[in-house]
């Protein structure tokens, strides 16, 4: 059951009619029936496949995954919002998005619209996936063709599918010039000059393609909601030092000593939030998975589902853009480099160190942003169970709030030995800043 233990009036409460204020009457849904069950089934099925394709498509590192989640979320939101007078399009509110094509004055079917949009969008975003993913998309298309059309007049099916396609084409055209559309060599540049000096990032693995850092220009991408004048930048972290009395040394010792005394629960936390690309739906996919589990548990209405997917998608995408900009401005070395150089040459962290600079923590930034948005939608003390990795044999974890989950995701990077504590703390703050901008987008009429 949902527990709204705080007094915050959430968007979810509004959409569920939990609030009784007459001022909220405008948020009730139109009388015409939406076959919500069919439409949510279409949405849920495509998003489950989306999580798998993120995991199994080689270009989908976490930043790239966040971008797909954002554009797909906006797509499904705009597709539904165009026929719902309670919603307001995000066109003109998010950077560079022009109004989507309007619907004709004729009957539509929401399931068919969503299916038409997602068939096109998924194939566009995952045209580069392997043969298994291609077969899965084809099989899914056929399966959902039947489901979406069930009980709907053929001309309505045709009109609705065409409209979904039009919305998808519109969003994809908008996405094409944001700076993140083309990924080569799995995101690793062929040429890149490392910054000189002991404070800066150097390769941390013996994987040949990872001798250059991942996506060094990702921070220059067009954000969704961040304004040009404020990209949620962070203050410069403390100065590099190898002096045992320095704060930097103390931060490294914090990582080192933590790694030497990890409890079983801390190890489980590190692995639960590890969210490695190609082995999981990635950190942004983890948060989308959380949202989908809530949808299923609570039978969340379709409008709130698409609103959540859009706002959450933009939050994690902008979280990564802000984070990546900071990462390459600071270009800080990883704990494994410092600790092996200064403290213990044989030290091994619990997790594999990701192949890009340390500060701030990407998982922390995007988790902070995701938690901020989800708390606004569902409540600040919204309890949930996260079984994202159940299929991989990791036990579900319970959280009292989205913020608690974000904080656990953040500290997991310390337990894993891949981040200093300041990167974690500042990452969460950066994410909170991003969430603030995302929540300025007015999705209600």
């Amino acid at each position: 059951m949902i527990r709204l233990t705080d007094k915050t009036l959430t968007r979810r409460a509004l959409l569920l009619g939990a609030a009784t204020s007459s001022a909220l009457a405008a948020f009730s849904f139109p009388a015409r029936a939406i076959d919500s069950n069919k439409a949510t089934k279409v949405l849920d099925t495509w998003y489950k496949l989306l999580l798998e394709l993120i995991r199994h498509t080689a270009t989908y590192s976490p930043p790239v995954a966040s971008r797909a989640f954002a554009y797909l979320g906006v797509t499904v939101f705009e597709a539904v919002a165009s026929g719902n007078p309670d919603f307001r399009s995000m066109a003109g509110q998010v950077n560079g998005l022009a109004p989507v094509p309007p619907r004709d004055n004729a009957p539509y079917d929401e399931a068919c619209i969503l299916h038409g949009a997602l068939v096109h969008s998924m194939n566009a975003h995952f045209g580069n996936t392997g043969p298994t993913g291609q077969r899965a998309m084809l099989a899914m298309t056929k399966k959902l063709d039947s489901l979406a059309a069930e009980g709907t007049a053929p001309e309505v099916v045709t009109r609705s599918m065409a409209y979904g396609l039009a919305v998808s084409e519109h969003i994809l055209a908008w996405s094409a010039n944001d700076g993140g559309a083309v990924i080569e060599n799995m995101g690793f540049p062929f040429d890149y000059a490392l910054t000189e000096g002991p404070a800066h990032w150097v390769p941390t693995s013996t994987v040949a393609v990872q001798q250059k850092p991942l996506l060094p220009n990702w921070g220059q991408n067009r954000p969704f909601t961040l304004p040009q004048g404020d990209l949620c930048g962070l203050p410069t972290p403390i100065d590099y030092s190898e002096d045992p009395t320095s704060t930097f040394y103390a931060d490294a010792m914090d990582v080192y000593e933590t790694s030497k005394s990890l409890t079983d629960d801390q190890k489980a936390i590190a692995r639960f939030w590890s969210d490695d690309p190609m082995l999981s739906p990635t950190p942004p996919g983890h948060w989308v998975s959380i949202a989908m589990q809530i949808f299923e548990r609570d039978a969340t209405p379709l409008p709130l589902q698409v609103e959540t997917l859009a706002l959450l998608g933009m939050a994690i995408a902008d979280g990564f853009i802000a984070c990546w900009r900071s990462k390459y401005e600071v270009d800080l070395l990883r704990p494994i480099t410092y600790i092996r150089r200064v403290i213990d040459p044989k030290w091994e962290p619990l997790l594999n160190t990701p192949p890009f600079p340390e500060f701030p923590s990407g998982h922390s930034s995007q988790s902070g942003a995701a938690a901020g948005v989800l708390a606004a939608l569902f409540g600040t003390n919204f309890a949930f169970t996260d079984a994202t990795h159940a299929d991989d044999g990791l036990k579900p974890r319970e959280f009292a709030s989205f913020q608690a989950a974000a904080e656990e995701a953040a500290i997991s990077r310390l337990y894993g030995g891949i981040h200093f504590r300041p990167a974690i703390d500042m990452g969460l703050k950066q994410g909170s800043c991003v969430a603030g901008y995302v929540l300025k987008v007015n999705t209600r009429a």
Partner: protein, 471 residues
């Protein structure tokens, strides 16, 4: 998609290596070697094994009658074919109690457990073929076929749970302790909660995977093939694991004094120039896709080299389409350099299985690659002046091929060691004399460590000799 292997063995006892090639959706084929010694390589087809849905094959003498049999892996029922001689075979599933099952079989290895008259066969299986929309997490069980209690064939297979879409398997004495465990390389594309695996195979007891408490460390790769060789003759095999982009060269970590050897490896592929992660010629800069791999000394300098068959899975645009095979020659210091283009084996076809073997008995190893959608290719080796010896190892009774034995070969101070195994590669196996390059030496000293731990005396093998060591 996966599969496409070859079996190389002498099916007609004429001392020339014949070839059985998987056909995928088309028929497989057996080809008799009619090459003249040191001449051009030529084959002619032999009827009788033109089965469909074959993924790969491994030759071995299952019933220890001195005639090589053939394990044929298929999408569907696997076939254990008993050799009759003169390249004729009969399906022995029923006679030997071998249950062929119904799966997408993609890996195989065999060993003789201590005291057994029949081999123990491990078969790796891939996806559930029915799971088209959500294939991920649908890896099907691998099987372990152990001898039956009567000693007349095989017991019903046991499932090796958990199974993670195996694409290569190898029974091997990984730490030189005289015990052969089961190493499995798994395709991370499809498993959930999976990893590379190493299994204990205790005599008379259920197999068990090594655990983290025993020192096993998680590794998750697109595992597609295993090449094994004790490159530094220190008593433990190095393992080259093929994958997509970077490949791995696993070197067993040395324990501290007095400590047990744990199954923990360091990856030395980068350090030794053997990542083979991207095409080295042809201009395609996208990451590579590696399949069959095999260590053999192709230039007869006394150091095992590495051949890797390459090819895109199908049409994966993020990975190289023009993906040349690798021929990585080993230097005396243990590092490798690429010689594929120089050697002329940099084919851009879509490689899968293969073999490095001497098809024209000239003492120089040739290369076979099975390609997807196109005909196999064979390259004749024209390019070495080094000397060589071939070693055949034969036991009386069961396990005639001495699977599990080690060959030691010495030229001066230079020692080479190799384990006799059946398995590994990418659905491709061989049953042939073991080739050693010896550089400029006129002869070599050879001895065998038999599977039961006893060892032979040193024997001399002269350059150019095929020496058979029996017991």
């Amino acid at each position: 998609m996966v599969g496409g292997g070859a079996a190389v063995f002498d099916c007609d006892a004429d001392d020339r290596l014949d070839v059985f090639v998987a056909g995928g959706e088309g028929p497989a084929g057996l080809y008799r070697n009619v090459s003249e010694t040191a001449g051009g390589i030529q084959f002619e087809p032999v009827s009788g094994l033109d089965q469909t849905a074959v993924t790969g094959a491994y030759p071995l003498d299952v019933d220890s009658d001195g005639i090589t049999d053939l394990m044929i892996l298929r999408v569907g029922e696997n076939h254990l074919m008993r050799g009759l001689g003169n390249c004729q075979f009969v399906n022995a599933n029923s006679d030997w109690g071998f249950e062929g099952g119904d799966a997408w079989s993609t890996a195989f290895t065999a060993t003789w457990e201590p005291g057994a008259k029949w081999p123990t066969l491990a078969i790796g299986n891939y996806l559930d073929r029915e799971e088209e929309a959500f294939p991920w997490g649908s890896c099907t069980d691998n099987w372990l076929h152990r001898p039956n209690a009567k000693g007349t064939g095989f017991a019903p297979p046991a499932a090796l749970k958990p199974s993670f879409c195996a694409l290569s398997m190898l029974f091997s004495d990984w730490n030189g302790a005289g015990v052969r465990d089961l190493r499995i390389s798994n395709d991370r594309e499809y498993y959930k909660g999976g990893q590379e695996q190493l299994w204990h195979l205790p005599v008379g007891a259920e197999p068990q995977p090594y655990t983290e408490k025993e020192g096993w460390k998680r590794l998750k790769i697109w595992g597609m093939g295993i090449a094994s060789r004790d490159l530094d003759a220190d008593g433990s095999n190095e393992l080259f694991l093929t994958s997509m982009a970077d490949n791995k060269l696993q070197v067993l970590n040395k324990p501290a004094d007095g400590q047990p050897v744990l199954p923990q490896y360091s990856d030395q592929a980068f350090k030794r120039g053997i990542t083979a992660h991207r095409p080295y010629t042809g201009g395609d800069l996208r990451p590579s896709t590696a399949w069959h791999a095999q260590f053999e000394d192709v230039n007869n300098d006394g150091f095992a080299d590495l051949f890797v068959a390459k090819g895109n899975v199908a049409q994966m645009p993020d990975f190289a389409t023009n993906d040349p095979n690798n021929l990585l020659l080993q230097r005396a210091d243990g590092t490798f350099f690429e010689a594929g283009a120089l050697a002329g084996v940099a084919s851009m076809k879509t490689g899968r299985g293969g073999a490095v073997a001497d098809f024209n008995n000239d003492g120089m190893l040739d290369i076979l690659v099975v390609n997807r959608w196109e005909a196999p290719q064979i390259w004749r080796n024209l390019g070495t002046n080094g000397q060589w010896v071939n070693i055949s190892v034969v036991q009386s009774g069961s396990n005639r091929g001495a699977i599990g034995a080690w060959i030691e070969l010495k030229t001066g101070e230079h020692l080479q060691r190799r384990e006799i195994t059946v398995g590994g590669g990418h659905v491709s196996g061989q049953w042939a004399p073991f080739h050693f390059g010896i550089g400029n030496a006129a002869s070599a000293q050879v001895r065998i460590f038999w599977p039961d731990g006893t060892k032979s005396d040193w024997q001399e093998a002269k350059a150019g000799q095929v020496l058979t060591i029996k017991r």
